[in-house]
Amino acid sequence: MNHFELFGLPPRFDLDPALLGERYRELQRAFHPDRFAGATPQERRLSVQRAAQVNLAYHTLRDPLERARYLLELHGIRSGEGGGQMDQEFLMQQMEMREALADVRNRPDPAAALAQIASEAKRMRNAVVQQLSRQFGEDSERSLAAASQSVNKLMFLNKILQEVDETEEELSS
């Protein structure tokens, strides 16, 4: 049973986060080990496994990057290992952002500079997620190959945002 089937959802990139959350809570109500406190040890062990499976599925479906990678995997495409030609313009933007991030401490207002990088990265991330939505919607061989490229971009952007968080934590401590 794949993650979409487990959640009773069609295998699409676009999904309703509220519905996903609702299904998650329903499934946990059915399988969480606390619902099996009086059951046999065997059933308790099985419930731990099932609840873990539900958690993994939820984790995968909730996050756009994980969801996209998982959908590609269902189509037999391994993604997120670099590969393929990256869009030159995107690579340039990435380099600029990285340089800006490294230089943030030398700026007169590091927090503001950091916030600017973060909002730029988030804007780009939203754009890539919308791209993914179109690419998966088209569902052709060509669009799926393009989706694989979008996944690479999303990974870059997530990495940047993670570094933004780390820098923010360092600045505030």
Partner: protein
Amino acid sequence: MTLLQISEPGRSPEPHQRRLAAGIDLGTTNSLVATVRSGGPVTLPDSAGHHLLPSVVHYRKGAPPLVGEEARRHLATDPQNTISSIKRMMGKGSADITGSGQRLPYRLVEGDSAVPRLHTAGGEFSAVEISAEILRALRRRAEQSLGGELYGVVITVPAYFDDAQRQATRDAARLAGLNVLRLLNEPTAAAVAYGLEQGAEGIYVVYDLGGGTFDVSLLRLSRGVFEVLATAGDTALGGDDMDLLVARWIMRQAGIGDDAGHHQLRRLLAAARGAKEGLTTAGSVSLEVELEGGGRWRGQLSRSRFEQLVEPLIKKTLAPCRRVLRDASVAADQVREVILVGGSTRAPLVQRLVGEFFGKEPLDGVDPDRVVAIGAAIQADILAGNKPDQEMLLLDVTPLSLGLETMGGLVEKVIPRNTPIPVSRAQEFTTYRDGQTAMAIHVLQGERELVSDCRSLGRFELRGIPPMVAGAARIRVTFQVDADGLLSVSAREETKGVEASIQVKPSYGLTDSEIEQMLKDSLAHASEDVAARTLREQQVEADRVLEALKTALDEDGESLLDSGERTAIEEAMEELRGAREGSDAREIKRAIKRLEQRSQAFAARRMDAGIKRALQGHALEEVAGPAGR
């Protein structure tokens, strides 16, 4: 959806014939026990009417230890034999304890064990055994008050407790003869106590500053589901540290040197604590301390001076607050309410700084001392099967990342912090040298990249890897964390299917044989019979298994088993009933095992049926469902 009815018809707990269950808040400074009575959850007092049990144990020569208020009276006069704040030593090694910078009056004994012991007049004891004394006292209180043996308990732990600290807590409960239904995170317990009563919905922060630990959790409350989104904290930060700062201030004022004796230090800490408590309401307090060489020192401490002293400490709690918001991608203004827990949140400065940080006045009207025990009692009552219709569900997370050591002393994370539990994640590793046949697996917990900066949980070895060129073997290491937050690790070589002999040597925990020995010692001490205790445990387990299986058969036996399968299970049940009437604990254990083997397929089918049931009613919706995002 009520998937499983736990109780057996006929023996089901009637409203007035409930299973006795309790919630225990095993605190650094004070502990509490609570239960759900017909009127609702209540904390249980001792015969003198005190609800809080000071977490203090006083050991004596040739007499059983004193626990609680009686023990606390000996703190200043007999510091070496009077153990307080033992929670801070749970799951810790000697180096952790002596390296904490705090001068402890105890004599630490290091033996062969990974766990240090304290030398007292009554013998040498580990933190687990000392905590077990506190749990025993609470157990006695509960059983006297409820008039019977406890079926099970829920014990709370700081959300930020690591695996070794959780395991130590479970071990202490086992020594105290308690059946632990669940370890529950303290902030989650507080949210339950508050949320169920108020029917709260939305995003809540629980800020829990106790005597020795600090936790902050961010939860989403939605129709009885308590979903922890992120948690952070510091297991070595609490009200005790405020006392220490005030005590140092007194030392400077009174000209007391760092070489002061333990008696003097205990008196200073007691005075500091009194001052701290007084300053919750007063603007200034007078202090008086007996000096070692005779004479007294008298002085005044104003609230503003006190706040200057402790402000850096309270500010330290704001970094974890920032982190939970970030980890959960929640902005401070999305937080509906801030719930304060723990006696230390009574300090006006804490309320002010936390209020400023989240941009809203923290809630009052919750008793910060009792709320955790109350939440634990509610959960215990449900887990004991007393509330079959209760839809409450607690979804918690791992507080710290879990990973293992790779080449160059680096940590590879397998499960990141704030992952919902239970969780199971696997990752593949490979060999470093040609012909390598064994692999050492070192399990770590923490956020840093270097092994030396993380906490070592344990090590084990995978042997019997078929010799191959370096990098060819595929070793799949699986981490599983259960609902208590406890980790188990297994490893398997995928090309040949060799399973690891998972002898985890806990870095800071007790081994099974050490626990057995402690159990024997403690029973001998209580002049209880070891064999009788073991038999009783197995009988209780047999009853549980039989009862659960009977319910399962009543529900699904008809639809999921053919008559041959059903007979096989019923035969094994009959066999177990027979063994249970005898007096051979090992025979009961064997009969339980056999029954489990026979009912394995049935259990799996019931789970699959559960998935179908959970998804029923959605099929139509899917076809016509909205295509929105």
